[in-house]
Amino acid sequence: MIRLEKRRQPSKRWTYLTPPLAVVAIMIAGGFMFWLLGKDPVEAIRIIFWDPLFNEQFASYSRPQILVKAAPLILIAIGLSFGFRAGVWNIGAEGQYIMGAIAGAAVGLAFFPTESALIFPLMVIAGALGGFLWAMIPALLKIAFRTNEILVSLLLVYVADLYLASVSFGALRNPDGGGFPGSRNLQQYPSAANPELIAGTGAHWGVVTAIFAVAVAYVLLNHHRIGFEIKLTGQSPRAARFAGVNPNLIIAVCLGFSGILAGLAGLFEVSGPSGQINIDFASGYGFTAIIVAFLGRLHPVGILLAGLLMALTYIGGELAQLMLGIPAAAILAFQGMLLFFLLAMDVLTDYRILVGKKGLN
């Protein structure tokens, strides 16, 4: 007989062991799924996890792409992790990402074709502000009317998506674009562009900001009052009140901070890899970042690693689609399984498994 027994306190060891175990489990389960689809499981797993980094033919292209994909995931996930620790569930990072991109791009396009070193910093501020204000809508509604931030933030994603379509066809459409939707390409406007900083690495300002955000989040969570208050609010709201924490402030800080980071991610994306505001700008980073945040155990360093891993499965997944003809939906299912396995493995952190007859100890 197998029984689960609650540990007196969560196991430190298993907290660190479960993410790698989940990755191993997903390789096995994913391989099984690919086998069911009639593909060679070993080859599929190799293409997803190994080839993007080390294949002689593609690695020079796909390696920089990993940083390009990981940066927005890490930025957004760092922001989300604050709220998730406090029990503030911002599911609408995708919307804040879009609004940050629109606000930042709009500022840049307003100056076109003036050249100035101040334009890009202004765009960064506007991008952060766009994400921040969009996130303040669920925050203020929750504080004032106790609305559910999960629903409000999620529904605002669809509003943001429609607004994106609207400006792509209207306010921000490229006047020289021959009637096609989409804005001017910011990469071709030097003052507003977010270029690759070191050739061949994929590292743009978003990557720098993501690493900076990891460091700042680490310090805030471990050594600053706000990190302690966030953790306390999430674990024990009554104890937090007793400790003098203002729960409304925590709601505003968590949603605001994740909004800022999501907005920045959007701005760096629109001025860099994507280049323009267009109807297909939304990429799902805001949703995938939720998986990244949990895969990284809501810990800044964990999120850094999880973001890189997730980016790897993105690139590897594209390669697998290309080379083996694995359907895109199977790749999405594969990524989703990662979170599923991680949460399932969490049992090991809080419980110990006893096999056989119960002994007296």
Binding site: Q9, P10, H223, R225, L232, Q235, A239, N246, L360, N361
Partner: protein, 513 residues
């Protein structure tokens, strides 16, 4: 009326790291009130849970009226005639008495018929209760009657009662005992769990004493000295705190016409609470649970803010200040609920030391936390208050109730408060730890601090307080010197027998709704 009802033979139950029951054997005769006596953690609850089918024993067997008895679940135990009244009630506050009782029945009769039966049973056994009242409006004593009547409707052969008097006023205890004696005379056996010796001497025919999971002796409580039973229970001599009054004539705290909202939907709001607290004194605030204790603590700690002049620390109005501002000025508090209110269960003791000690112990500089200093503070609490734990890196929930309570009280005392407010400081704590906590509160007052002890344990209040006031439906009586009071008078201050009038004048309470 004679013969063995239930025979318990060698019951053993182990949990990881602790043997809750070790080869426990005893028997209960038909028509007997049998006491199960022991400290918190002695294994009483585990034992009765096995009898009631909630826990399966690892070894040993039971016989009910000569037949093997091994209930797989409480339903089987009830079918065999075993009923239990738990210490913590499982009632839905938004439903009526009759609806609550119907929910617990296998095949509830129509509501009108059930109401009639409830009224009949409540009158037969002298337990006044109106089946149509909403449970949320009932006092703790009345809620207990709901649970008892729920059991009596099943016509049990064995009624298990887990610490039934902990929520009752002395007058309500008398009513309960009269009912239990009536049941016994009709042939129902009662297994009565308690750690209060005087009650057991007044009520029970036989007592089985548990210590550390083992049966350390069976005796006739009416023939055995309370002191002997206490020593069997504890296993050693108990240190009883010494009470010397240090009250001065300097005002530490003034509460003036404090009125508040309730902290929960069925909570009790404070109405016009006024008192003065002197430096060096311990003021006891007694009352049955749910009469405004939680609200009073929240109003004092700053979790609930009130009108500034309602609370004055020295001369300074502080009613509008939040918890940390009050801490800075010297008003500290320790709430009743250890896990989840006074301490965060999954956080380490170091983090929990920081939780309330941040301000006065200067554990924070410019928003950054000084973890080394916090750890030293936690170590200091652990050391000074004899908290049994490997080190401060352990989670709060890994500590036993008594040890965590010593930590929580110690955390506040070591911050040198001017005024300390504690709610139920020794609830669910073993006798040794309770004595240590009471002594620490006495020492704090001796050093000149003012202490408010909110408690439902009258013995505790009699033991350590200088003055006593009763909280009843959100109103506080005028404090009186504890030395001048006896249990009878305190009972009357607590509101006498709550709801006694209800059964005799049901139309009145219906009109009141």
């Amino acid at each position: 009326m004679t013969g063995t009802l239930i025979k318990i033979d060698g019951l053993t139950k182990a949990y990881p790291g602790v043997i809750a029951n070790d080869n426990v054997s005893f028997q209960i005769d038909a028509g007997e009130v049998h006491a199960l006596l022991g400290e918190n953690g002695a294994g009483k609850s585990t034992l009765v849970k096995m009898i009631y089918g909630l826990v399966k024993p690892d070894a040993g067997q039971m016989q009910l009226r000569g037949k093997p008895y091994a209930p797989a679940e409480p339903r089987a135990a009830r079918a065999a005639g075993v009923a239990m009244v738990f210490q913590h009630f499982s009632l839905f506050e938004a439903l009526t008495v009759a609806e609550n009782i119907a929910l617990g029945m296998e095949n509830p009769p129509p509501m009108r018929q059930l109401s009639d039966r409830i009224t009949t049973v409540s009158q037969d056994y002298g337990l006044p209760l109106d089946p149509h009242r909403t449970v949320g409006d009932l006092s703790a004593g009345e809620r207990q009657r709901v649970e008892i009547i729920r059991c009596l409707l099943q016509d049990p052969k064995l009624l298990i009662m887990d610490e039934p008097t902990s929520v009752l006023t002395p007058q309500e205890v008398d009513i309960l005992f009269a009912t239990l004696r009536l049941l016994r005379d009709q042939g129902t056996s009662i297994l009565y769990i308690s750690h209060k010796l005087e009650e057991i001497r007044a009520l029970c025919d036989t007592a089985t004493i548990l210590r550390g999971g083992q049966n350390v002796g069976t005796c006739d409580p009416r023939q055995t000295a309370a002191r002997d039973m206490a020593e069997m229970m504890v296993g050693s001599r108990l240190h009883v705190p010494e009470k010397v009054s240090h009250a001065t004539d300097q005002v530490a705290l003034t509460v003036n016409r404090l009125t508040s909202r309730a902290v929960s939907p069925f909570g009790t709001r404070l109405r016009d609470v006024s008192f003065q607290l002197w430096q060096g004194e311990i003021l006891g605030i007694g009352g049955v649970a749910g009469n405004g204790q939680d609200e009073l603590l929240a109003a004092m700690s700053g979790e609930m803010q009130v009108n500034p002049d309602a609370i004055r620390l020295g001369n300074r109005p502080i009613g509008h200040l939040g918890p940390n501002k009050r801490r800075r000025l010297g008003l500290l508090a320790a709430p009743e609920e250890r896990l989840g209110h006074a301490a965060a269960p999954d956080m380490t003791l170091t983090e929990n030391a920081l939780l309330s000690g941040k301000v006065r112990k200067a554990l924070e500089e410019n928003g950054f936390l000084n973890w080394n200093k916090a750890r030293r503070f936690a170590d200091q609490i652990i050391d000074r208050f004899d908290v049994r734990t490997p080190n401060a890196a352990n989670a709060a929930r890994s500590l036993s109730g008594g040890n965590l309570q010593k930590f929580v009280i110690g955390r506040e005392i070591l911050q040198n408060p001017l005024v300390l407010v504690v709610n139920q400081p020794t609830w669910g704590v073993d006798a040794q730890a309770a004595a240590a906590i009471r002594q620490a509160l006495l020492d704090l007052a001796a050093e000149g601090a003012a202490v408010i002890v909110i408690s439902q344990d009258l013995d505790e209040l009699m033991e350590i307080t200088d003055r006593f006031a009763a909280l009843n439906e959100g109103r506080l009586s005028a404090p009186r010197p504890t030395a001048d009071l006896d249990v009878e008078q305190i009972g009357l201050m607590l509101g006498g027998a709550h709801g006694m009038e209800v059964a005799h004048a049901p139309e009145e309470s219906t009109a009141a709704q």
